[in-house]
Amino acid sequence: MLEVKNLNVSIGGRKILNDFNLTVQDGEVAAIMGPNGTGKSTLSYVIAGRKDYTVESGEVFLNGVNLLELEPDVRAAKGLFLAFQYPLEIPGVATMTFLKAALNAQRKQRGEEELSTPDFMKRVKESADKLGIKSDMLKRALNVGFSGGEKKRMDILQMALLQPSFGILDETDSGLDIDALRVVADGVNSLRSEKRGFLVITHYQRLLDYIVPDTVHVMAQGQIVRTGGKELALELEKSGYREYVTEQAVA
């Protein structure tokens, strides 16, 4: 379960998250929708542990553990996974080396044994096959020369391998064509379970046709301003965000 309590965050003196509150239960898929510049990506980065932001007050708990005191790698080992809006290209780092280093670093952090190479290879192959990731992609440097869709699939592959208890998908649909979107969404859906929660951040309703949420939150000016079921996404698609932006500005 992810709980964000009274979170206030600024960057360079500019307030971005404003007394933000959110709870996502185990097994729940929550979507956050909202216009540009409302702090959606900031929220995901702050939860994952990026240091460019100033957390003024508030708490973020994952399964009862306060994440804000932990380094990003420890948060990951505690079960948090952030699928990046733009996964980074890392020349010179072989994809398999990276996957193994990440998996074993998390296991070590949790006091578990390192995975044997055959076990590791087997797991990678299984997940890669499901996501249509060809073996030559795994032989290349991490994300280097990958298309937008390939990078997103690689991120979902990482999620499948790392088996987090909570996944944040930050604008996973950006830069994807409809076929790639379907593959990525299928990958996410196959990881849905009673024990795993998701926070899906998106501008558009389209992604939510494929990853159907249990709850939809509308975010504006650093706060949740409305919460509803999956039908709220459809409503937003018609009406846009104007009403929320104005409401906030007036308030």
Binding site: D73, A76, A102
Partner: protein
């Protein structure tokens, strides 16, 4: 009013002059060679040890950095060669090796090379006096004005002369190994020549053996003369040098037409390293690639200075040099691309990239283009900075602790060029040198 300039010689310069005077009658070579030595020494003597007012040496003031010249090393004893022989007999020793001991070719430690490849000692070639080879050994104008290249020519003791017959292909590397028997730091002057016949293909890998090769003052010079349509892959491992050592390495390449030439060097070690490269495209439509990685910490100083001359049309030059600088190290990259008026359609790219891991390192970059042709595509770039914070965060967010993420990115930065060597055994050997350097790094600070 006129100022009278009184040349003052440093003790190192005086010692080198005395060493030349004492050694020249015993160094190998007939009358032509003696003249070459004397002319070369005159160039050195006139200029003295290069210093900061010499443009090509501005960032490596040898006159200040090298206070004393060490005596020229004595010839290795039979016992020392025998001891080295046991080391090379051990499993895992490189095959197809040519071994120089204290600058002197040791055939008894060296292997026979494949048919079509002949090897002789430099001393034999100089004594024999074959004019074509001696002309090639003189560098034919490349580096001729450089005092250190000249000093090496004046005092060259020995080396190897490798001739590869036209059309011969040698896939596995010929290992040119610099070993040392002398236990006291000394000066060594070696000069080697590789003549690659038209359409031939070879790979040459330079490395050092044992700690002995990593101390003292080493003046090396390797000259390539590459025939038309030949393919040459070269690598040099300038690593694990010891504190106080000075390595002054010159690399000269003359390329014919439609040649494919690729050279990679790794510099990692204590002391002072200056590697200077003179490459001339003499035939049309050749491709030349020069790459290098320097890993420096402590107060180490490494200088790579290159001069690439496009004297023929349609050639492609790629030069990329990377530096990782930690603690108080100093890196120098100087690169000049010269495009002659007739070298139309030249495609030249030069890049240096430095990662600065502390506030007390220094990186000096000086890229230059001199273009006298009007239809060329040339460019250069230089970057200095820290590791990419977005990449670091990405790796951390996947579970890698900061130090591990940093190490992975540093290794990747260096290994990117290593991986282009194109020979698995060599890639592995270079990668393990990079890893060894990284693992000796003082544990990284926690991200601010």
């Amino acid at each position: 009013m006129s100022a009278q300039i009184i040349p003052t010689r440093t003790s190192a310069e005086t010692a080198l002059a005395e060493a030349f005077g004492a050694a020249k009658s015993t160094l190998p070579g007939g009358a032509d060679v003696i003249k070459l030595r004397e002319d070369s020494f005159a160039v050195f003597h006139e200029a003295g040890l290069p210093h900061r007012r010499v443009e090509a040496w501005h960032y490596t003031d040898l006159r200040a950095l090298m206070r004393d010249a060490l005596p020229i090393v004595a010839a290795p004893t039979a016992a020392a060669i025998e001891a080295l022989g046991k080391e090379f007999a051990a499993p895992g020793a490189p095959s197809q090796r040519l071994v120089l001991v204290d600058g002197v070719f040791a055939p008894q430690l060296s292997d026979a090379l494949p048919a079509g490849v002949t090897v002789r000692s430099l001393a034999d070639v100089l004594t024999e006096g074959r004019a074509d080879l001696i002309a090639l050994l003189s560098g034919q104008g490349l580096g001729a004005q450089d005092p250190i290249v000249s000093l090496n020519a004046a005092l060259m003791q020995d080396g190897v002369v490798i001739e590869v017959a036209p059309g011969i292909s040698v896939v596995e590397p010929i290992n040119l190994i610099y070993a040392t028997a002398s236990s006291t730091p000394a000066a060594r002057f070696s000069r080697s020549l590789v003549v690659v016949g038209a359409g031939a293909s070879i790979r040459l890998a330079e490395s050092s053996h044992g700690a002995g090769a990593r101390v003292g003052q080493t003046y090396g010079c390797l000259i390539f003369s590459v025939g038309d349509e030949a393919k040459v892959d070269h690598s040099a491992m300038v690593t694990q040098t010891l504190p106080g050592s000075v390595r002054l390495e010159t690399f000269i390449a003359h390329l014919g037409a439609k040649v494919k030439f690729d050279s990679f060097a790794l510099i990692a070690g204590a002391g002072l390293v200056r590697r200077q490269i003179f490459l001339r495209f003499e035939g049309a439509d050749s491709e030349g690639s020069l790459r290098g990685v320097s890993l420096l910490r402590g107060r180490e100083h490494a200088d790579t200075t290159l001069f690439v001359e496009h004297a023929a049309p349609g050639c492609t030059g790629r030069e990329i040099f990377k530096y990782i600088l930690d603690e108080e190290a100093t890196g120098v990259f100087q690169g000049k691309i010269h495009v002659a008026p007739l070298a139309q359609k030249t495609d030249g790219r030069m890049l240096s990239k430095a990662l600065l891991l502390s506030d007390t390192v220094a990186m000096n970059n000086k890229p230059e283009l001199e273009i006298f042709a009007d239809d060329v595509a040339c460019g250069h770039g230089a970057t200095c900075g820290g590791l990419n914070v977005d990449q670091l965060f990405y790796l951390q967010a996947r579970g890698l602790p900061f130090a591990e993420a940093e190490a992975l990115l540093l290794e990747a930065f260096a290994a990117e060029l290593v991986d282009e060597i194109g020979h698995e055994g060599l890639i592995e050997a270079f990668r393990s040198e990079v890893s060894a350097w990284l693992s000796a790094r003082v544990p990284a600070r926690v991200e601010a």
